[in-house]
């Protein structure tokens, strides 16, 4: 039993935080977001050189075979500085989908993903729902392959993507197609997301895709796709934890420094109690994220329970902490100039993607309703022997 980072992870965390603290600056954030790519390409290359983009991928694809905790370390470090580089959307989710669903030939481009030259983005969920992604985009058989039609609104990481991984309904179920950004009929309309990051509205009008562009052939891949999305959800949870720990620290410091009525704010019990509530929420969120990481090894109800518990709990804690951080910073908390509001926006963005707090709590409630037993005893009581 272990709930600590190992020495390598501690070193990775230290080096990641040092690099990002040096390269990412809140005062230049707006300029980076407005730039050509919407992120710092030089930093992206450095991240690739450090091997970060290889961490989420298996060794057979040129990766380092990192586990969710390893990925989480990098994500958390990025979340601390509100980094906008596409680690989550390209290295974890996009590359993860290609790695999980593609055959040997289809996975060849992953070497370029690891080196940072190839940016990938998954265009999947269209509306969000209780049981996962909603897909109405269609793929019908055409000469030499397929024809895709549909709309993927507000796709994170798509604006700068070289290749989109587009989910569409085939006659077999849901399939994922590799579509290069310059494909005829594909439109990528850049949109600003609420936290400043650039996404894209993706429209497919009679977009042709070769048979070899359908990852893994004409079968339903919804389940396997969701498994990769689960990985991204947990990575997003750790990224969020990074932001929340910064909010905790800066709010604590601010309340100790800001003097009103002749005393620092933290001399007032109501302020101290809000800080305490934030600290409790952060600790619980960390614990839930670890459960989610562990659950990625499980299947079925145990996996849904862990992943949904993590997303829901980190989300609820994120609401409490980010709202309280703004509140305790007073008027400054709602200015663009201060970083606190940017973390609040990231918390909102986190909640709105991959299912909000209430969605995941209801998902867990459904599990409880169908089989109460795992919830009426400690987790260790329900463990079974390895086969």
């Amino acid at each position: 039993m272990n709930l600590r980072y190992n020495d390598e992870q501690v070193m990775l965390s230290d080096s990641a935080r040092r690099l990002l603290a040096d390269r990412v600056d809140f005062t230049t954030r707006a300029a980076v977001l407005a730039g050509e790519a919407g992120f710092d390409r030089a930093l992206w290359r450095e991240m690739a050189e450090m091997g970060w983009l290889a961490v989420p991928l298996p060794e057979r694809d040129g990766g380092l075979g990192g586990d969710p905790a390893d990925i989480g370390v990098i994500a958390e470090a990025m979340g601390e500085v509100l980094a906008v580089e596409p680690f989550l959307t390209s290295a974890v989710l996009g590359a993860g989908v290609l790695s999980a669903l593609g055959d040997d030939a289809q996975r060849q481009p992953l070497a370029d993903a690891v080196s940072g030259e190839l940016i990938l983005a998954l265009a999947d969920d269209e509306a969000g729902g209780l049981t996962g992604s909603t897909v109405s985009t269609t793929a019908v058989r055409a000469a030499d392959g397929w024809m895709l039609n549909g709309v993927k609104p507000v796709v994170p990481g798509a604006a700068a993507a070289d290749v989109l991984l587009v989910s569409a309904r085939t006659e077999s179920g849901v399939g994922v197609f590799c579509i290069p950004r310059d494909a005829a009929g594909l439109t990528l309309e850049p949109v600003a997301l609420l936290d400043g990051v650039r996404g894209a509205d993706v429209t497919l009008i009679d977009v042709r895709a070769a048979g070899a562009a359908l990852l893994g052939g004409a079968v339903d891949v919804r389940g396997r796709l969701d498994a990769v999305i689960d990985q991204a959800v947990i990575a997003a949870c750790f990224e969020m934890l990074g932001g929340l720990s910064v909010l905790m620290r800066v709010t604590h410091e601010y309340c100790g420094a800001r003097v009103q009525f002749g005393r620092p704010l933290s001399a007032f019990q109501t302020v101290r109690h809000q800080l305490a509530a934030m600290a409790v929420a952060l600790e619980e969120a960390r614990a839930a994220a670890r459960l989610g990481a562990i659950a990625l090894n499980a299947q079925g109800a145990a996996r849904v329970r862990g992943v949904s518990s993590a997303k829901a709990k980190v989300g609820r804690s994120a609401r409490l902490i980010s709202n309280a951080a703004v509140q305790l910073h007073g008027g400054m908390g709602v200015t663009e100039e201060l970083n606190v509001g940017a973390y609040l926006k990231r918390a909102l963005s986190f909640d709105l993607q991959f299912g909000a707090v209430e969605t995941h709590e209801l998902r867990v409630a459904a599990l409880v309703r169908s089989d109460a037993t795992p919830f009426t005893q400690a987790m260790m009581c329900g463990q079974e022997r390895a086969a």
């Binding site: 272990n2 905790a69 905790m248 614990a287 670890r290 829901a312 919830f375 400690a378 463990q383």
Partner: protein
């Protein structure tokens, strides 16, 4: 995977062995009493039979050192044992004796005190209550006023204690008294073991809003207590209290075990009537409780594996008490209009009604009694104060 909460093969064997033991030996009446319990602690008539079984098997205090009658189990074994007991709905036995008196005597007591008290505590012959709070000393325990005046090789106690759970069942009380008025309030406090059968002791019942008699007021009028029953030195009472709080931090598993049992009760209630899941708000609350409880269990496991400090103990107390209340409130909501029906008889199992009906009648009393959870053992406001002073910022 670096993070891992899987038990080893040996730990699984241990778990299964303990599960089989509990299954074979837990009296049905004890289990039923636990299921229908509405108060904060289990009545002795529920816990004593189980205590007797455990003592006969050398399992009354398996975390104690072997020389005192324990098994010397490590923290993980004790945790597994506690969780299996809660899973089986076994009653916690002699909580004040086990969690307060035993650690106090083992660490600060004389050899004579260990020889006198530990065996009877272990066997269940002695049943203990906690005499700390007073009418004027609740959250501010240091302002306690109960006096202990030295008279030869006795102390003469005068004063009153308040909120003693199960004093009316107990023959002994561990007490904090003032042996010295000078200096800071904490400095003059000493810890005494009081024989409740001594002349001058009066126990008055307090009835609480759940319809139960659990707590009492204890009056001490010129009660003579041997100096030999003082634990530690004069003036060491406060240090002993702080030590006991730290000990408490190291006993991970109880709060979360109890929460799983409480959650199980709610889910049984929901299963009894199909309409209950459909009551507006119930499903959402169940989902939130389940998620919060999973997170808290992971926090608990982190404390088990990585140690617990003041911040961790206060977090656990605060959140566990809030979650118990969330569970009891969801149960009341799920019952709906039927919850208006009030049943004064205690214990509920005395009524000749099917268990399904008794479990419904238990909901409101349990909820009302449960309002005390965020008040005793360090009120939530006190816990938030502690947390605000002890959270780390890295």
């Amino acid at each position: 995977m670096s993070f891992d909460i899987a038990l080893s093969a040996e730990q699984l064997d241990f778990r299964d062995e303990m599960r089989a033991f509990i299954e074979a030996h837990l009296p049905d009446a004890s289990r039923r009493g636990v299921e229908l319990n509405v108060a904060s602690m289990f009545e002795p008539e529920i816990s004593r039979p189980w205590h007797g079984v455990l003592h006969a098997q050398g399992l009354a205090a398996p975390g104690w050192p072997v020389e005192h009658g324990g098994r010397g189990w490590d923290a993980v074994q004790q945790y597994i044992w506690r969780m299996e007991c809660w899973r089986a709905r076994a009653p916690a036995i002699s909580p004040f004796g086990m969690r307060l008196v035993a650690p106090a005597i083992m660490t600060f007591g004389t050899e004579a005190q260990k020889a006198e008290f530990l065996p009877r505590l272990l066997s269940g012959e002695d049943y203990w209550c906690q005499g700390f709070s007073e009418p004027g000393a609740g959250s501010d325990l240091a302002s306690l006023r109960c006096q202990a005046k030295r008279d030869g090789d006795h102390y003469i106690l005068n004063g009153t204690k308040l909120w003693q759970t199960h004093a009316h069942h107990s023959n002994w009380m561990i007490t904090l008294v003032r042996t010295d008025d000078g200096g800071r309030p904490q400095e003059g406090v000493s810890c005494l073991l009081v024989d409740l059968r001594a002349p001058g002791v009066t126990i008055r019942p307090i009835h609480t809003i759940g319809g139960d008699h659990e707590v009492n007021q204890v009056f001490l009028d010129d009660v003579r207590i041997p100096v030999a029953h003082r634990v530690g030195d004069e003036g060491q009472g406060w240090a002993i209290t702080k030590f006991l709080l730290e000990e408490e931090r190291r006993s991970a598993g109880n709060a979360v075990g109890r929460l799983r049992y409480s959650f199980g009760g709610l889910l049984r209630l929901l299963a009894h009537e199909p309409g209950r899941w459909g009551v507006p708000g119930v499903e959402a609350r169940v989902g939130q409780i389940a998620v919060d409880l999973d997170a808290l269990e992971m926090v608990d496991l982190g404390q088990l594996l990585n140690g617990a400090e003041a911040f961790d103990a206060s977090l656990m107390k605060l959140r566990a008490s809030q979650l118990e209340q969330a569970i009891s409130e969801a149960a009341v909501l799920a019952l709906g209009r039927a919850a208006l029906r009030w049943e004064p008889v205690r214990p509920l199992e005395m009524l000749s009604l099917p268990d399904v009906a008794l479990e419904a009648l238990a909901v409101v009393p349990r909820h009302l009694n449960g309002r005390a959870r965020t008040i005793y053992g360090g009120a939530s406001e006190v816990q938030l104060d502690i947390i605000s002073k002890t959270y780390k910022n890295n």
